[in-house]
């Protein structure tokens, strides 16, 4: 498999999981948008950092996250993101789906590797 195909597979995986990764990062508590983006980027879970912001607004419109403005010591107020109960449920659903999905893919890949 060439590096080009590898890149495409990774891009597709990121596209499919980014939303749930954002929910997972917010599960422990609220976060500042910039920190969220940096963390996703460092973990290699997102290709373009900027695309996280439209995703966050969509999650807010879907009522999976809420935003709060907080004053900061340096500079203008910051927008913090937190999970709603619906966001927690969506994350729990993803956890189950991901576990099953991962097992199925692993079994398939290992099966293919043996034969």
């Amino acid at each position: 498999m060439g590096p080009e195909h590898e890149g495409r597979a990774l891009a597709q995986l990121r596209r499919g999981t980014l939303e749930s990764c954002v929910l997972a990062l917010l599960a422990d508590g609220e976060r500042y948008g910039y920190d969220l983006v940096s963390e996703l980027s460092e973990a290699g879970l997102v290709a373009g950092e900027g695309s996280v912001y439209p995703l966050l607004s969509r999650l807010r419109k879907d009522a999976l996250v809420t935003t709060t403005w907080r004053e900061s010591l340096s500079g203008p107020p910051r927008r913090y993101y937190a999970l709603t109960p619906a966001g927690h449920r969506a994350l729990a659903d993803f956890r189950i789906a991901w576990g099953e999905f991962r097992t199925s893919v692993d079994q398939l890949l290992e099966g293919k590797a043996r034969s």
């Binding site: 596209r15 499919g16 749930s20 950092e49 607004s57 969509r58 879907d62 999976l64 994350l91 659903d93």
Partner: protein, 224 residues
Amino acid sequence: MMANTTHPLVMEYLAQLEQAATRLSPEDARELLADIEEHFDAAERDGQTSDAQIRTIIDRLGTPESLVNAAAPATAAAVTPDPPRREVPAVALLLAAEILALTVLFLPIGVVVWIVGLIMVALSRRWSSAQRSRAFLVLGSGFPVASLAVVGASLAVFQTSREECATSPAGETTCTVTGGVAPWLPWVVAMLAVGYAVLQIVVARRLLAAVGEHGAKPRGLRMR
């Protein structure tokens, strides 16, 4: 030290983003711009203010076009188009043809509507072949069955009415109705008609529900 949002590279990037965002709704465009400006502000507070650092921030954000694409669900959906939705119109047309047949007057229009409906069923991409055959057999049969029922009913009425004024023996005049439709027959026909209508409604609902399930995306797990 220069504020990040007044850096020439950042100003250029924000101008390009504003230009690209014109195809979003004004609200979405404003929000996206505000978020990206805040990102530059936050990076500045993070101590990233050199030219090289600002270039890196811009590189990592992605092109203005890619941000707008991420904010425009309609455009993203256009990349992987859903198969056309022919199932709902197909069901509607087949049932409409059946009703048109019952009106007798609009029967010719019914023929056209029926044929178009059958073609739509044949072209369906969301139904399995079993579901398509069910649509053909149960819903597609509606128009011919209704047409035959209408023709049969008018023939029966015509026959009985002729027989009513048939007998007149010598001397006395007695009218006897003979050879007409058996009294239980209309009831049987009505029962069959009701049964058939119920079957059609049940099948139509199942077929439409099957399409609805296919179209719905689970919340929080949308693949985009």
